[in-house]
Symmetry: C2
Subunit: 106 residues, 2 copies
């Protein structure tokens, strides 16, 4: 299964979704527990979770009436892969000009 890198980055571009990831990094949570501190409805969280599932950041599983959500590696790995793959390229690029131009572009 191939992740859509577009959607992976789009997923991370939303603060609520990153907040969900941060929350899940402390351990698995139910949908309503995730919604509680974020000031949005459970429905909204459900929609975000669908995006996060499709992009490989989260795995969810419904047991009884509770859906338990936990982190999944695929999404993170996709980002890391992109970063690693591109680091070489832009570093080479910057090195070419780096000798002459000021490199204080951070």
């Amino acid at each position: 299964m191939e992740l859509d890198i577009d959607r992976v980055f789009q997923a991370l571009g939303d603060p609520t979704r990153r907040a969900i990831l941060n929350r899940l990094s402390l351990g698995p949570q139910s949908v309503s527990k995730l919604a509680e501190p974020l000031g949005v409805t459970v429905t909204a969280i459900g929609q975000h979770l669908q995006v996060l599932e499709e992009t490989g950041f989260v795995h969810t599983e419904k047991t009884g009436r509770v859906r338990s959500c936990r982190l999944q590696s695929a999404g993170f790995k996709a980002v890391e892969h992109w970063a690693v793959e591109h680091r070489a390229t832009w570093e080479r690029r910057l090195d070419v000009l780096g000798g002459l131009l000021s490199e204080d572009d951070g």
Copy 2:
């Protein structure tokens, strides 16, 4: 200057913008040269470039009537930083359950 990580990821969430980055990884280019193979107007590229500048991926400089665009490190570093910072977290998280659950979630 502090980059907005929201906008950094949003910037990468667009295929045209990533295409621009790929193009620039081969070397600096003018706005119109960037537009040429992408099937969009120069105006659109200008708008994308503004986003890429604000998010630290690109530096542009106008000489005469030509704007020359080249890669900049800040944006890439921001992504890498996020990836590194979160790798530890989700790896720990996955390790906790990894012993029991199947880890074939890639």
